[in-house]
């Protein structure tokens, strides 16, 4: 197990290096330059050269990347172009909001989706299964921002059950949770349908396997067969999909944070791109990348815990 985890984390490190290098190049190719943005149109060539030197923009590209990695390892992602605060601080302030939003969204939708998927598979072709199927496909088809806008209209504006904007008072858990309901509904809703479909399919496959017949032939209670014997196998594809789905969750969080005016990485990225605030763009996209790599790695490790064959590399 330990060797698998170490191998997997090593791979994650390699992926991170490649992704960050690619990211650096992409940001480098965005038209417009930070020096003009910072100094304005009336800057003298001397001022521009001085700032370029200070930011390392006068060095060759490869050296810039090297420098970036070296600084990154020290936790230094540069300075915000406007406020002159460390980018690491700015980004780290926003990460918890996005992470909480994503985790709450995927948690409730995974629990509900897995439950519905199991129900559908066990009661295959029943009325409940058909209804679940129709509902699942319907919610998969609705984009997160549509859910966000309509839930805002219905539950915040019309019924006024939930607040429309913001993330709630810092330190007040109840208030923060209250503010999380609509955004996490917007992000999680389609995942419920997606996970329900996925779990149903893999559960049906597992329930048809020989070892389930053995368990039944030994008179094990059906409940234990489904939840103790089959679910552990049926859940494997879902874990992987959620791990990789972190990318979709992050991009859904961008829309949702804008619609609900919530602080978070998404809002930060959009705001900093429109102002050509490169260090902040880099910092927030970097953190998104780290979150993504961490979640896929975590998914692999969870699968290895669930399935001994994966740990053994078979």
């Amino acid at each position: 197990m330990l060797s698998y985890v170490i191998k997997r984390i090593g791979l994650a490190a390699v992926i991170t290096v490649l992704a960050v290098s690619a990211l650096f190049l992409i940001v480098h190719m965005i038209p417009g330059d930070p020096v003009s943005t910072m100094l304005g149109p009336r800057a003298t060539p001397e001022m521009r050269a001085a700032l370029e030197a200070r930011m390392g923009l006068d060095k060759p590209l490869i050296a810039q990347i090297g420098l970036f990695f070296a600084n990154m390892l020290r936790g230094d992602l540069g300075m915000d172009v406007f406020s002159n605060r460390p980018v690491t601080d700015i980004v780290l302030n926003q990460v918890p909001y996005t992470l909480t939003l994503i985790l709450v969204s995927i948690s409730w939708s995974a629990v509900l989706g897995i439950a519905l998927g199991c129900y559908s598979a066990v009661n295959r072709n029943s009325l409940g299964d058909r209804l679940t199927g129709i509902l699942s496909v319907s919610v998969i088809a609705v984009p997160a921002f549509v859910v966000a806008l309509y839930s805002l209209l219905i539950f915040a504006v019309k019924l006024q059950w939930f607040p429309a904007i913001g993330a709630g008072d810092a330190g007040d858990w109840g208030d923060q949770l209250h503010h999380l309901v609509l955004p996490s509904l917007a992000i999680g809703l389609s995942w419920v349908g997606y996970i329900a479909r996925l779990v149903r399919a893999s559960m049906l496959e597992v329930l048809g396997e020989g070892h389930i017949r053995t368990a039944r032939a030994f008179g094990l209670p059906e409940r234990r067969i489904v939840f103790g014997y089959a679910l552990r196998l049926a859940i494997l594809p879902t874990v992987t999909v959620i791990g990789v789905g972190m990318g979709f969750l992050l991009s859904a969080a961008v829309f949702t944070e804008i619609v609900f005016s919530r602080p978070g990485l998404g809002k930060l990225v959009i705001d900093s791109i429109t102002t050509r605030n490169y260090p902040v763009v880099m910092g927030s996209v970097l953190f998104s990348t780290l979150i993504f790599v961490a979640s896929t790695t975590l998914a692999d490790i969870i699968n290895a815990i669930l399935d001994p064959r994966i740990r053994a590399g078979k």
């Binding site: 070892h211 030994f218 008179g219 234990r224 001994p308």
Partner: protein, 323 residues
């Protein structure tokens, strides 16, 4: 008294083409402490028969008529809960493919302890029982191997584990569905020997399904020959193998590679195919492929005694008697 007494059992499947009559009037008796073998080629209804006994039938299967008496009680009239109470305690199963038999993500120990869930024993006692049982089927170092996963065992080992699991509760009846088909020949012999010893020790009856005639001859006391969902011949292994009464049994024995003495390029086969079980022929089920077919074969033959305790469903029996 017979442990298992199946009388006139008919099972059919609802298919898009119509009703597929997988079993028709099948009667099989498994006496106490005896091993009864069932032989027949693929599609003869062996698997349907097993699933009907332990009532793990496909959703589209339907029992038309007959009864399956286990220790004198008809299993077909029992409720789901009553049947489940018998499974794994009174009636156990060993399945064909040992690679598919065990849950791949749970340790062998966990699975062996789980199936004892009805017993009011401590976990340590259940574990002890599992260790003893594994030792009995010849798994070396059972204590440590209990913590391993199925993929860490070979096919032969897994089938021994399956046998250990099936016999742990000392059932009255063990149903073995081609337990050695997926194994190589040397392992097959080992498993058969072990099964025979264990049967003797535990004192259970075994219903042993196989298409391997040699294994049946080696292991079983009695044999039932099935063809296309019907019993065509039944009797002691000695009677059936030495003086087969039904043309199908004869053909089957002639095709057995173990029986062929001369060198040959092509192994013999029985010409023709098994009949369509949706549109059954009206007379004898084997008539279309039978080398000794005659006028009477347009009528369905009843089971008749070829000798004491040796029955066959063939019109030739009456002929040979009178001739």
């Amino acid at each position: 008294m017979a442990v298992l007494d199946i009388q006139k059992l008919s099972v059919s499947y609802a298919t898009p083409r119509g009703e597929l009559k997988a079993l028709r009037d099948v009667s099989i008796t498994v006496p106490d402490r005896k091993i009864v073998g069932i032989v027949g080629e693929s599609g003869c209804g062996k698997s349907t028969l097993i699933s009907a006994i332990i009532r793990l039938m496909a959703p589209n299967a339907h029992v038309g008529s007959g009864q399956v008496a286990f220790k004198g009680e008809d299993l077909l009239t029992k409720g789901e809960a009553q049947i489940r109470a018998l499974r794994g305690t009174q009636i156990s199963m060993v399945f064909q493919d040992p690679m598919q038999t065990h849950n791949p993500v749970l340790t062998v120990g966990r699975q062996m302890i789980d199936i004892q869930y009805r017993d009011a024993l401590s976990k340590a006692e259940k574990r002890k029982r599992a260790v003893d049982m594994l030792a009995l089927v010849g798994i070396p170092d059972p204590e440590a191997r209990l913590n391993q996963y199925p993929f860490e065992f070979s096919g032969g080992m897994r089938q021994r584990i399956a046998i250990a699991m099936a016999l742990m509760a000392r059932p009255a009846l063990l149903i073995a569905d081609e337990p050695t088909t997926a194994l190589d020949a040397t392992l097959e012999v080992q498993i058969i020997k072990r099964l025979r010893e264990l049967q003797d020790e535990i004192g259970c009856s075994i219903l042993f399904i196989s298409h391997h005639l040699g294994v049946i001859a080696e292991l079983c006391d009695e044999v039932v020959v099935m063809y296309a969902g019907e019993v065509v011949e039944a009797g002691s292994v000695r009677d059936v193998f030495h003086s087969p009464a039904h043309p199908y049994t004869r053909a089957l024995l002639e095709c057995d590679p173990g029986h062929i003495k001369e060198k040959t390029r092509n192994l013999p086969t029985i010409p023709g195919n098994i009949p369509d079980l949706v549109n059954l022929p009206s007379g004898c089920i084997f008539a279309a492929r039978c080398p000794r077919r005659f006028d009477a074969c347009t009528a369905r033959p009843a089971m008749a005694e070829a000798s004491a305790g040796h029955g066959t469903a063939c019109h030739l029996i009456g002929m040979e008697m009178t001739a």
